[in-house]
Symmetry: C2
Subunit: 569 residues, 2 copies
Amino acid sequence: MRRSKLFIKTLKEAPTDEVAKNAQLLIRAGYIHKEMAGVYVYTTLGLRVLEKIKQIIREEMDAAGGNEVMMTVLQPRELWEKTDRWDDRKVDNWFKSKLVSGSEVGIGLTHEEPIVDMMASYVSSYKDLPISIYQIQSKFRNEKRAKSGLLRGREFVMKDMYTLAKNQAEHDEIYEKIAAAYHRVYERLGIGDITFRVKADGGIFTSRYSDEFQMISSIGEDTLFHVPDTDIYINEEVASSLAPEHIQPADRIAMTEQHTPGVKGVGKLAEMLGVPIERTVKTMLYRLDDKLTAVAVRGDYDVNEIKLRLATGVKKIELADEVSIREATGAEVGYAGLINLPDEVDIIIDDSVEPLVNFELGANRTDYHNINVNWDVDLARPEKFYDIKQAKLGDIHPETGKVYEVVRGVEVGNIFPLETKYTDALGVYYSDQSGKKQSIIMGCYGIGVSRVMGVLAEDFSDDKGLIWDKSIAPYSVYLVSIGEKGSEVADRLYTELTQAGIEVLYDDRDERPGKKFADAELMGIPYRLTVSDRGVEAGEYELVDRKSGETKNLTAEQLIDTLKISVNS
Amino acid sequence: MRRSKLFIKTLKEAPTDEVAKNAQLLIRAGYIHKEMAGVYVYTTLGLRVLEKIKQIIREEMDAAGGNEVMMTVLQPRELWEKTDRWDDRKVDNWFKSKLVSGSEVGIGLTHEEPIVDMMASYVSSYKDLPISIYQIQSKFRNEKRAKSGLLRGREFVMKDMYTLAKNQAEHDEIYEKIAAAYHRVYERLGIGDITFRVKADGGIFTSRYSDEFQMISSIGEDTLFHVPDTDIYINEEVASSLAPEHIQPADRIAMTEQHTPGVKGVGKLAEMLGVPIERTVKTMLYRLDDKLTAVAVRGDYDVNEIKLRLATGVKKIELADEVSIREATGAEVGYAGLINLPDEVDIIIDDSVEPLVNFELGANRTDYHNINVNWDVDLARPEKFYDIKQAKLGDIHPETGKVYEVVRGVEVGNIFPLETKYTDALGVYYSDQSGKKQSIIMGCYGIGVSRVMGVLAEDFSDDKGLIWDKSIAPYSVYLVSIGEKGSEVADRLYTELTQAGIEVLYDDRDERPGKKFADAELMGIPYRLTVSDRGVEAGEYELVDRKSGETKNLTAEQLIDTLKISVNS
């Protein structure tokens, strides 16, 4: 493509209201244009990157047995009412509209429901399963704020795959196959070595974990717990953890009640009582599926409600209201402990509390805390301790005994077991070999295509602009002509390179060399090739690698060979 | 692709509420799935056809200098208010929604406004023009009824190109270049010999014509006037026409007024008065840009309001209200004539009225008509007669003198001069070489991609199902295996054909041959290849051409050679 035929100009400034670095860079370099907050046009350059990412994903999804389809943006309300995902109180980020007739329609936010509903036409027997279907399309979320550029837009491009399997074993096999395909996608995008499968929450309707694919990055939004020298990465939201050992006192001391009026915060309390914070205990009253429950963790930890849900198997977790707390503890909020709670209050205690000797505990009496509390002496040791704490730096991975490394990651994909939630709700079943009706096990597998583009733009850039990987750069070579003879030879080289299958953006404009060089760098094209009058005389052309800065002076023949190899490697 | 891996099944019945033949066929054959009226999912088969059509269009638009972009579905209200295309009273088929903040957004119906608005970032100088930009995307129209399947959906895929030029000459050149690209698109879709450029209305903001591309078809929705032995096709809405000559009486007779109480319709009136209908005159009172005007055509014609607008250059045409008619004619509605109208009433007379002798005319008196009216005797001959009649069968093309042939056509594309309507309204100009601000001339160029798919499905089909052209069929070959040995050889052939670059849909299911054959025909795959036990023994395989029904028995070697040639021809 000749710059003179490309309508794009690089811009000095991104819109002043654009705060996301990825969007600022992509706007300035001419890849996207801001239509509204979180809503971007993809120009010819941006669309080329987006399509290359799509194509890599498409090829890997096809190789994994996927059937590509195009679902509809317009969605009938009735369908989503069947799964209780229509009401704004249940799903608060629908864009909704109305037909002329007055019937409400939704603007495609996700597509589990229509995919499953459509399957009623195609699935009846065990012979029809398993099925893998995917779509690569724009989706819409009515986000309150949209300040992250392509990382979280109101209109964005997603690849979503959905699989339907006859049983759990079949599902698990497909799930792993698609996880492997995801790894190949990240390899091909040039981020295979820094992208990992991360165990994460599976959501409230399953006891299974989901898996995220996180790229390790300083721009990461998520905290990941990594077991050193392994591929084990766990999202902090579900990271199992063992508190590192602390030396406990050798001798038990008799429990006493201490007057602690108005002391706020576990730190101040520990200080006042002269107890190390690692020997304090935090007791919180919750309602777990409506049952009042005291939940205790060591004072320097917080309760992780996702781990609490997974450990107990409950569906609904909420903090108890003040009246219930007062009734159960006989004290104001802030003094709950574990001793003398009414029998009807369940108790869940984190394993960080188990080894403690002479520890502190709320006294269930306003303005009082107990110190020197001991298991078996002052309160019964529970049959079981749980791991319900929010993991933190220094914690140990229980299965390997290794101390976690804590890193930042940015999500570039996720895969989810949906079990039979949607298939059952929409009444889509299959008949097994004996003719018996069976539930269908479903999985879903997302990659935010535009998000990935934003992540790569933001993470792979420097002060001069973007730095695309060769696999997704809109063009491989930015050809700069300088001078009259330079232009003549550049014209010829442009044709030769293009015929050799190399994608060239040829800056044939009548502009200063400095301006052309700056555009090449801002646009992040992997190679810049300069053909100047002087170069023509010497029979050598300058090839600069955008990423490494390496410069080579090559003859025309060497050039084409070098580029053919580099671009395809 | 193996049928066993494809989730699609052919269906016995389309949904009972689906009335469009194209949708019925495509649903039964497994290409689309109905989500709502006018809203269809494209399955793997349907998407392959759609993508092939897109790719042909994309290649031709690129060759014509187009820059592909992806515009946004979500559209800010403010932008569309600038061109007065937001208000439901102005544009009645928007889908609208709201951001959480309450701001209204539109769901992309068309994209002239955002394209032009975006150009403010990229166009300032004459050096930046001309520009050709296009998009291939889903668009949304809130149609009252949506009963035409893919021919007119609520959600549909369009290719829209927009060009911006410095002046009319530059615009005209680009316009013709794109028209030529359109012809190449239709050639490649296999309908080049039956698709023609048709002159059509350019809309109210221009005196220029637009051009439609119409495929001649019995399913056509439009009536086209064709000048035999030429490429001249004109949409009936703008067809210029000369009424065929009728013999007029030799002698003029004196005008008389006839009592015609309660006679309804020009046919009955002619009969009652004993005057041939071709010597009656219909006078209608209009307001042309608010000016009261009597418009007359010969009684067997109707007024064509588009031609009336183009002939007079007015912007607004509406029938006069009854009060105005009574005031101007002194009579009830139904008795308007041309004699004795007040001076302030303008008169526009169609050229079909010019040659009449002893003709009939409303008397401008309730219950009376005049007969034996004559030019110069009873009323003054106007300085100019117009061509404002609705053309009909038998009419003559004025420029060539040939009698029109009237055919049915279905629109498969259109191109439009937009002049400076949008660029001026959105304040996007360029500076010419002398630094002077100049208006930008715009054109737009549409092809309904999903509509074209529907048209081809509906027109190219028989009682057994679809018949795709090779250029857009989802697969070139439907491979049917019969028997155990047949399956073994078919497995091998499938691999060989696929490796030879031939797209094969391999029916490897354990089904009756008759069912497989029926699916091959319903799906409309160009070639059906059968590999049976018997064929394996004879070393010959049956290849059937879906369109011609021609059957060949070929060896494996002949087969691959034949298919390679056929598929690429």
